[in-house]
Each structure stands twice: as C-alpha cells, then as structure tokens.
C-alpha cells in the first residue's frame, strides 16, 4: 500500500511541475506579445472599454474585471509618471530562473526624464531562505543620452559600481530639473540681455558679459550634478 501511496504522490509532484512549466511558458508568451504589440494592445483595451461604456457589449464577468483592473493600473501609472517625472516607454522583463527558493529576472528599461533619455539594464535576484528574504540588483548597466556632460559620466560609473539604482534615478530627476531651470534662466537672460549672453559647452555653461564704462566682466553660471552622496 505504501508504494501505491508513493506512486500517487510522485504523480502529483510531476503534475505540479508540468503546471509550473506551462505557467512559466504562458508568462513568457504573454510578455512577448505585450512587448511586440504594446500600442495595438492599448487600442484594443480602449476600444473595448468604449464599447462597454456605450452599452454595446455585454462582457463576461472575468473580462470586465480584467478591463477594470487595466484601466485602474493605467491611471495609477499616469499619476506615477507625472509625480516622479520619469517616463518609461519600454519595460522588458525576462524570467531567468524560477524555483521556490530563488527567482531571477532580467530587466531592460527605456525611458526619459525631462529631456534626458536613458536605458537601464539589470538583474533582480530574490531569494527566500526560511525566514530571511533577500532582494538585490546585479549586472547594472546604464546608458544616458547627454554623455557630453562630464559630471554625469563620472556619476554614472560610480552608480554602476555601487549598484545604486535609486540614487541614479533620484539624481537624474533633480539633474534634469536643474537643466530645465537653467534653460529658463538662459531664456530670461536672452530676453533681457540679448546678444550679450551665449551658451558654452553643451549648454552646461551660460556666460553673460557686461560692459560698462568702468566695469567689464564675464560671469559663467554653472550647474552640475555633484554633491550627492551614497
């Protein structure tokens, strides 16, 4: 009898493994579809919810639940983009390893923050070991448009070293915020002083020259992303 019981238990384990494999396959498939057809999918959802609003279609309960969930998430993400100033245009996620203990996912994020566009790649490892739960970043690689900004480059290599993803995005936010302010300042000077001001070196330096009978000087206005520490 014991052997029959064992046999049945083994079959259960096998079935559970098969189910997990199918689930993983579906997840990968669903992600691939969404990555390839992002805009079309958005259209599809809009189309469906319009129809529902007009009362043209009666949807099955689980379909309408899905649509509600989607529109709620869309709303949350719009607010998130607005508040954080970071806009993600692409999010590629691939599950590398998935066991009960360990979960490794590869991320590739593309987006922009103000006028600076970026791409960040990293692996996220989650390990559940009894009571302890570990979640860490590795293989971080960041590319930012605006490599001519020297300060930014030095900062980037430090971030890649310390793997401080947070720090990077927080700094990117305030950096682009300052760039915006600087641009406003420049526009102000330009409208007030006209030809006397010019931008130097990748728009990171603004010089205004003043000429007076007794006085003549050129004052550079600088702004940089230094001054942040881990």
């Amino acid at each position: 009898m014991g052997t029959l019981e064992q046999k049945l238990e083994e079959e259960i384990k096998l079935l559970q493994r098969e189910i997990k494999a199918y689930e993983a396959e579906q997840e990968a498939c669903v992600r691939a579809i969404s990555l390839q057809n992002g805009e079309a999918l958005q259209g599809l959802v809009r189309n469906l919810s319009n129809k529902v609003e007009k009362g043209n279609v009666m949807l099955k309960k689980d379909v309408s639940k899905l649509i509600t969930e989607i529109s709620n998430l869309e709303k949350d993400l719009r607010r998130q983009t607005e508040i954080s100033g970071i806009s993600l245009s692409e999010c590629f996620v691939k599950t590398v390893t998935k066991t009960e203990r360990k979960n490794v996912q590869q991320y590739r994020l593309t987006g922009h923050c103000c006028f600076l566009s970026f791409q960040a790649e990293f692996a996220l490892t989650e390990i559940q070991d009894g009571e302890t739960f570990l979640k860490k970043i590795s293989d971080l690689n960041i590319i930012v448009d605006g490599a001519e900004l020297k300060d930014l480059c030095a900062f980037l290599s430090r971030v890649e070293e310390t793997k401080g993803l947070f720090l990077f995005f927080r700094t990117l936010g305030s950096f682009s915020e300052r760039c915006k302010q600087r641009n406003r300042t420049f526009q102000y000077f330009k409208s007030t002083w006209g030809h006397r001001c010019r931008l130097r070196a990748g728009s990171s330096r603004l010089a205004v020259s003043f000429n007076h009978r007794w006085l003549s000087f050129s004052r550079p206005l600088l702004c940089s992303c230094r001054g942040y520490s881990v």
Binding site: M1, L4, E5, L8, I12, L15, Q16, I19, Y22, E23, E25, Q26, C29, V30, R31, A32, I33, S34, Q36, N37, G38, A40, L41, G43, L44, V45, N47, L48, K60, D62, V63, L66, I67, E69, I70, L73, E74, D76, R79, Q80, I83, S84, I86, L88, C91, Y107, A120, L124, L134, K135, K136, I137, L140, T162, K163, L165, F166, F169, S229, V230
Partner: protein, 281 residues
Amino acid sequence: MDIVRKQGVFDHLMVLEKAGTTGQEKQKQDRLDELRSTIVTLRAKRDRLSAETAALKSLQNKLDQGQPLEVDEADDLMQLDQFLLKSRLMQLKDLQTAYHLIGGYNLIENKQGKSICVSFCTAYGDMYLETFNLEMDLRRTVQISRHNIPPCIPLDKLAKENLQTDFKAFLETLSLHLNALAGRKQQISLIKELVGTVEVIEKNQLCNFLVLMCKAQESEAAILCTLEYSDLTKCLPTRVTIQSKDTTLAESPQWKKNQALLMESPVHIALLTLRKMGSIV
C-alpha cells in the same frame, strides 16, 4: 462466570483489534482517495493550461506574422481577447514593479479615488530592504489615515511642511528619510558581519547616534568612536569623536586622519580600511 468473563474479554479484545485495523485501513483508504482526487484536479488544470498555452502560442505566431489585432465583434468575447487583455495587464504590472524598483515608491488609488496608497521601498547599495506603506485620505484635504512608517521618522513634521502644498516634495523627502534610516541600519549590520572585532556599544532607534568600541592594534588600548548623524536624510555622519584612556593616541595625527575617514565614507567601509591599514584590530 469465569469462562463467560474470559470469553467476553477475549471477544472484546478481538473486536477492538478488528476495529483498530479497519480504522487504520480506513485512514489509508481515505488518504489514497484524497491523493486520487488531487490528481484528477491537477490533471484537469494541466490539460486546460496545455490547451491555453497552445492557443496563446498560435496567437503569438499570428501576431508575429503581422496579422492585425482585432476585437471579436461577437457578444461573447473569444478566449484570445482575454489573452490579449492579460498581456496588457502583465505589461502594466511589470511597469509598476519597475517604477517601484527605480523610483522608490508606488502610488495606488483605491476606494474609487477616495484614498491613495503609497508604498515606499528602501535600498542600500545593491540590496533592497524594507517596504513601508502609507495611506492617505483625499476626500477634503490630504490626510494620512494609516501607515507603518517607523515612529522615529518625523512624519508629522514632514507632512506639515509639504503634504498640502507640494505632494511630490513630501514623497521625495519621506523616501529620503526612509532610505537613509534603512541605509544606516544596514551599515550597522554590515559592521557586525564584516568587522566583527568592532563592537557596537550603543545605538538609538533612528540609528543616527552610534558608539563603537575598537582596539588599537599596537597598544591594544580601547578606543571609543562616537558617530552622530544630524542630517536624517544622509548615511554619512556629521560629527565623529574619538575617545580613549590613552589620550596621546586619540589625539595622534593618525587618529585625526582616521576621524576624517569616518566622516567621509560609510562606517563599515571606513572600519574595514582602518583594519587594513593596521590602525585597529
């Protein structure tokens, strides 16, 4: 009488024995039935998933070949449309996770816009640490209704400063505070993990006051390093004092340098450097 009694006991024992074995057998049978019914359920689930996966794959192939996405006009939506909706949902969920990882917080609206839930994640270096949640009531003025922010974080003060006027600034400063606290805590556990010879004698809840005891390598004199972090949004101390019974040692140029090092780098890294340089055991 005796015989009857004997027989009676004997019979009784037999009955008990029989009942015992059937009880065991019944238990076994129940267990087997349970396993069999689990197998039936799992098989059904596997078959459903297998069919779904096949359908999903053919949909993916269709899309890869450039066939357009179409909403089925029939009242009863096809399964494929459900897959497409699931794809969109997955995409959005991934984006939400990504925002959590890079931005430090997620905003989730609930109760039809009456309240908003913010979930803050904290990280130090490559490690993600604790997550904290805050629920805000949006009905009249913005008000914090529930949260699990540690009591040592000056939440009321931060809320007074920015909550009504600049929501973004409020979230940013709170996130900075939470991250700095998590970072200082993590530094302390890294000291215990990496520099076991240094003893953490005193620390407070905010982890912004820290007394460490280490031993000088040459004289073996005990040295107390007191670190104060007056900027609660940072993981670097604003004041470091060195004390020792051996006053000449504490005031030596070497320890002046060590003091500067403790000011400039995260405490566990500074201590590792001091040990490597041979200043402490």
